[in-house]
Symmetry: D2
Subunit: 343 residues, 4 copies
């Protein structure tokens, strides 16, 4: 039997939710061997104490970032604002890197300063990094040494806007977001008795994601995000007023052109059935983007519904999809999980 | 001590969710005595078997509608389409009626046919009935013999649109709705394993509610409704593009003008705190309308957030508020419950 | 009209969940006027920022405990271990006190030390304080100046054991508990993504509650508590192996003897229907104890199911019930709310 | 490269929850090709309309059972009581069968009649069928042509009892069960507004599962089952009074002897951490049995906690584990998914 030569993959910031999701997926990736996992708070602790789903499959411990050695591939899963400064030192350890933080998503330093309120420490790397949505930048990603993993909200917005981007200049996007999108740091707002059953408007965070969406699509987006009772998942409801009225057939065609060849994008638009439009719970744990639309017959408004798992397609899964391209692997390797139903 | 002379109140269709909510509230109303409760499916059954929250406080049984006798006040809580035809026979039993169904909400028969797809059987009563939002029609309700209880979605929309109605002609409204809004009839879509964790776009039902909102405010509304993981409650997110740019101070003033004197409307807009904007869980079980807003500094878009309990303010509570006015009682009688926190 | 002379009530530790629940109930209590509310962390802050359900009904602020003045009645709602030492100074401010913490629940200092691991600072007050379950200690509470509000878990256990206490010496109790029972202090375990969907065995805390149950019933209880997906509520499942086999009729009789005359205790045991046995969601926000049982025909084991709201009957509501008795009011004053359905 | 010759697998009753779970897993099984899927209600319908998680990966349709042809392996996933009669006709179509219904779990016809209240139509097949827990019956399963998939509750109980089966004669088991365990048929009890937030004692169904547990372990079990707010998952809390007192070290040793070599059984018992004991959400979608214990120092009672996914390990996953053994495949083939965290 042919033996696959596995690449060694390390993760910086492996105790967070994105780091845990990377691990979950990489442990079942046929071409990957886990190398080192760093975490500043939990060095020496068993990884499966933090990520209990990995028990018995992975019993390694977290190491300090100073212990990190050279590796074939490196994922950076630290909070925003760290890799901005520190990335160059990690480039010495790995020739290929996916950074899941926000630090290398925007193409120029001015935009970065405008949205993140401070100067970027390595503006020249903003030009080098490729925005990591394979469906938009597949060829560039294949050649990239640095890929910036898009934001979960931005991923939702961009897939929603892409097929009709030539027909509109402006969109109103209403996001419904699960609690894991705010990360593993706890607060009063995330305290279970307060956060449970919330339908809570919030906004600052996702304004930033709109910067990515505007960069990639050229459409001005007004975003309103709501925290709802869900752990994983985002549903984006995008209201599009088109420059010219399109028939349902026309819109179908644009969606098909955009996505029919994409194995991870599913157009969900049935005439009947409980799940005739996308829902985040159906894609939880998967790399799928489920996307559907309806047209308001009176106003002509097109409403696009897009569902992803914020931790998988919105972070770790999409990052691995990029890694597969960067390493010359089949794009879907390690990403074939189907979601659960019922759930 | 002064003895209050209580009025006798009957409910037609008392086994549904609106009927149960009426009972819960009326049992603690100081001026009300429950008279008869009808239900076609459950006649002879103990009411508290269907509404288990009423145990030990109310141990009556459901009767057939043919047994209904004259009463001081009558609530109609049957499904849409029944009172359209049958209302006149109930007018013989009570001089004052609140109908919680959709049948008398629209002012003219043409609109009714357009939205409900069949002829109204008693079009002349559409003129007689008063649309039951006390904050808009207080004086008419006081004199009315027939009040039409507004839809829960419509109530949310109208309160959202009312303060700025002169500054806009069009609104996009995104509703997040709990499962009780679909009533007590079960189906595959409401089966717990399927409905739980849903973030499910749906629309037909609430298009109808937009007819009420357009009638009352004159604003054209494009509504998109989503079923989310919640039993009681609606959050309406209303995106308003204004004809002229208003400052935050101006918008505040319009909201204050509209609602400061209203004991059941709370403007919720804080600078900090977990609950700085409205949330449905905070108003569950109450007659409050919690309403707040933000202004997108870039686009000038005003986003209004409105939270109600669909069964209380969106149906039974608002109906009792109308009853209080129709009977000359203090408007808030029996409606002083505060919501729970945490919940 | 007769004017009720209202008593002035203050709350020490009013920003926690028990404090908020006291406020919610007392604001609708006909004989009570809120006096002062203390909180060390939030002095000067508007109370409704912490308890958003109270907006527009109560707009006072928290004061420092040093500002507390004499009052007709005082509730203590501080964390366990504080009133142990500080109670005497509060007794100077009010002649009648209900302490909701664990500090005065046990009758003797040895038990206290055994279960709480440190010496009680005011052991003589343990003799003076009355254990605040009115259904067990009504006459003592009427005369008491200090009542100790029972633990929520203990309340569940005691009501479960009381009717058959003569027929058993030992019980296994399995508790299912909502997240609000752990209070307003947040941690990783209460972080929404971690706590949501939990069915999490935990125990230390409720071992302590078993001390109260053993003191009051004389039955040795082995408790296992589980945190489940719920904010408010406890269901206790009590497995009783009886000394002699009892028929269903016998057990019914014992339950009726114990509870038929109690307005807040409802025996819930139907032959059919969705809610034929007690469920915590039906009693949320109420002072009810819903209690039912089944008998395993093969083993003779009696299984008792008891549902309460941990914050209302398990803390604030039961405290107000005691206050009513201590002040000579009708026992149910301010406690007539019915729970919500559906919810 | 070596080509795997795939076996053709058909499923009878593929539209239910167990059928859907089989499909989800088999579509990623390297040695399996889906052959035919029957469903009486949905013949001709696209399978992914019923199981929306399978979209784009599987676009076949359901066929009528009369169309079923010979196949390498057959799963039966029909409701209880059907295969009792019909199994022999399916044995003509496949030499190896796993029946997930209850019909062939009990070893003799008398037990069947006692628990299921009617005569078994094929009592001789009860002797032939092997009870499908591989950890207990691995060698028999390898040789079996008919395996009976255990009940989800029974699986939970048996794993809980197995390590200490020699030290006890009797157990009290408290189950917390998700809504998918009741299947895809909807009713008032499963209507989302009624079932949500339930902590609902129910029993009849699981008494039947106790028959399996008693058959396999020889221990008499008193089971009380509760429906809680969860879609997938069971937590079993087993209270064991031992014949002789065992130390924690002794119990650890018994658990290790029973399970250390089993790749799908994880002993979960940590000193610290949020997930120091088993929880069903951590195993959702997996074939793992997570099992832990605590010892009450006062009473010596051992409490065993066991978490499984009722649809995966409690039905489809365990069925595939048996299929792997029956077909001579590696036992874990197609079952390597890790659960999600957070979730």
């Amino acid at each position: 039997m042919n033996v696959v030569e596995k690449i060694k993959v390390s993760i910086v910031g492996a105790s967070g939710y994105a780091g845990g999701e990377l691990l979950r997926l990489l442990l079942n990736h046929p071409n990957v061997e886990i190398n080192q996992l760093t975490c500043q708070q939990n060095q020496g602790k068993r990884v499966s104490m933090i990520h209990p789903n990995l028990r018995k499959r992975f019993e390694g411990v977290f190491v300090d970032k100073s212990e990190l050695s050279e590796t074939d591939f490196l994922f950076l899963a630290t909070p925003h604002g760290i890799m901005n400064k520190e990335l160059p030192q990690y480039q010495k350890l790995a020739k290929k890197i996916v950074d899941l933080s926000a630090d290398y998503r925007l193409n120029n330093a001015d935009d970065y300063k405008k949205w993140y309120k401070f100067e970027h420490a390595n503006p020249e790397l903003l030009k080098e990094s490729v925005y990591g949505i394979p469906e938009l930048h597949r060829e560039e990603i294949k050649k990239a040494s640095l890929v910036a993993g898009p934001g979960c909200g931005a991923t939702t917005m961009i897939f929603s806007l892409w097929p009709l981007r030539e027909f509109t200049e402006k969109a109103i996007i209403d996001l419904k977001v699960g609690s894991s999108a705010s990360g593993a740091a706890f607060s009063m707002a995330s305290h279970h008795p307060e956060r449970t059953n919330a339908v809570r408007p919030y906004s600052p965070f996702l304004h930033r994601h709109s910067a990515e969406a505007e960069q990639e699509t050229g459409i001005k987006v007004d975003v309103t995000a709501h925290a709802i009772q869900m752990v994983r998942g985002i549903l984006g409801t995008t209201h599009l007023t088109l420059k010219e009225k399109l028939s349902e057939k026309d819109v179908w065609q644009k969606f098909r052109e955009a996505y029919s060849d994409e194995q991870f994008v599913r157009i969900v638009k049935d005439r009947e059935g409980v799940y005739r439009l996308p829902e985040p719970k159906i894609v939880a744990g998967t790399n799928f983007v489920d996307i559907g639309f309806t047209i308001d017959p009176r106003s002509g408004r097109v409403i696009v519904f897009t569902a992803i798992d914020n931790l998988c397609r919105g972070s770790a899964g999409q990052g691995i999809q990029s890694m597969n391209l960067m390493m010359g692997f089949e794009e879907s390797l390690g990403l074939n999980d189907l979601g659960l139903h019922p759930v």
